[in-house]
């Protein structure tokens, strides 16, 4: 694993930019989850943070690791993406059925 000092300036800027973008997505998602009025918009906020935020954090971290660790991180991202989508869909359906039968 190489240190940040060994990276070129260009890759350092790109990876920092990606990491900061990911963090901004996470912050926006958390604020949305706390502030939005109903379950559907909250789900919307959280899944954006999950998929895009985690994706760009992982893309930013990829500059620091070797190919094996990168592959593992990519797999983790795909798993989180899929399970996040499934659980979001399930939660939304649950909220819908609860809304329909008061």
């Amino acid at each position: 694993m190489s240190n940040g000092e060994e990276l070129g300036l260009f890759s350092l800027v790109i990876s920092s930019g990606l990491l900061i973008t990911g963090l901004l997505f996470f912050i926006a998602g958390s604020v949305g989850m706390l502030r939005f009025p109903d379950s559907f918009s909250r789900l919307h906020a959280v899944t954006k943070a999950d998929s895009l935020g985690l994706g760009s954090v992982i893309a930013g971290l990829m500059f620091y690791c070797n190919w094996w660790q990168n592959l593992l991180m990519l797999l983790i991202w795909l798993l989180v993406l899929a399970s996040g989508t499934v659980s979001c869909q399930l939660l939304a359906r649950f909220c819908k059925t609860k809304q329909d039968q008061p």
Binding site: A82, S83, V86, Q89, L90, R93
Partner: protein, 319 residues
């Protein structure tokens, strides 16, 4: 410096989640906050150089406990807000807790900063234990007594739960979650097998593999898969008890066969055979732990005379 910042953030989050879980007025919020707390605990174990615990906690704290608590919530039915406690009702317990906390902290700060002789002993005798991962060596060789009794405790908890738990409230599952759980199943089996095998030399072992398998099986059971995984199945009963039985049998075998040599000792493996005995016990312990934990979380009433007599009443109450 950045690590200290991470530590402060982690500890602060843990404390905030625990406090919010205890003080929130809605029980469902308390349970959800507690599940988030369990996830952060796994991170905390990883930070404190305990990867074995992090693996187990990720499957247990975040997976199984969550399913348990949500089942309990669903059984409570329609929930009212918790009653507001008066000033005095809050103040006196808080005072008591603060006094206890100060005493606890004082006592903890008296502890010596140097560890006892045990870690050095574990590392010294690692070659004779049959495995090269110290935690597995402690669990299945030096202190295998603990593991044996733990399997017994698990079995007792399962028997007790099967006796008293009311019939499970099963809901129809959606096709999406069913197919997703089916997709996850081979991945979980692969990971559990890897964890079990890696336990000899790396973090991993019977407990983590069993907990992971149980978490996967619970997801499948909640989606109405794995119909055979119930207490009525004789093979399930066999494997639930087999962990304890194989352990006891191997202890007895070693005890009686070792009589020719030096003085026989309880729960002491001969170094040249230790590797195989530990592997045998671990395989059966993994299956037993997985089955018992699964049945503990999605407990199904066995069809006894008592439960059949109770069935009609349950239906009425559940509406």
């Amino acid at each position: 410096m950045s690590l200290l910042l991470f530590d402060i953030l982690l500890c602060g989050l843990l404390l905030a989640l625990a406090l919010a879980s205890m003080l929130s007025r809605q029980l469902s919020h308390a349970v959800i906050l507690y599940i988030a707390f369990g996830l952060l605990m796994a991170l905390c174990w990883a930070r404190l150089a305990a990867p074995d615990l992090a693996l187990a906690e990720a499957a247990i704290g975040a997976g199984l406990t969550g399913a348990l608590c949500f089942t309990a919530l669903a059984r409570q039915g329609q929930l009212a807000l918790s009653p507001v406690l008066s000033w005095q009702q809050r103040c006196w317990p808080a005072l008591f807790v603060v006094v206890t906390f100060c005493g606890l902290l004082l006592a903890l700060l008296q502890l010596p900063a140097q560890p006892g002789p045990l870690p050095a002993l574990v590392v010294q005798n690692l070659t004779a234990s049959g495995v090269s991962h110290p935690v597995t060596a402690v669990l299945l060789n030096y202190r295998s007594w603990d593991t044996l009794l733990e399997l017994l405790v698990l079995l007792l908890a399962l028997i007790g739960t099967l006796q008293i738990s009311p019939a499970a409230v099963l809901h129809r599952s959606w096709g999406l979650s069913r197919s997703w759980s089916r997709l996850l199943a081979p991945l979980i089996i692969l990971l559990a097998g890897y964890l079990l095998w890696a336990g000899a030399s790396q973090p991993g072992g019977a407990f983590q593999a069993g907990a992971l398998l149980a978490a996967g099986a619970v997801v499948l059971k909640l989606n109405q898969q794995l119909d055979w995984l119930a207490w009525r199945n004789i093979w399930v009963r066999f494997f639930a008890v087999a962990g304890l039985t194989v352990f006891t049998l191997s202890v007895l075998t070693v005890f009686f066969l070792a009589e020719a040599g030096s003085e026989p000792l309880w729960l002491r493996w001969p170094p040249e055979l230790a590797k195989y005995i530990i592997l045998l016990i671990e395989v059966f312990a993994t299956l037993a732990i997985a089955i018992i934990l699964t049945l503990l979380v999605v407990a199904e009433q066995p069809q006894t005379a008592l439960s059949l007599a109770r069935a009609d009443k349950t239906e009425d109450i559940d509406g």
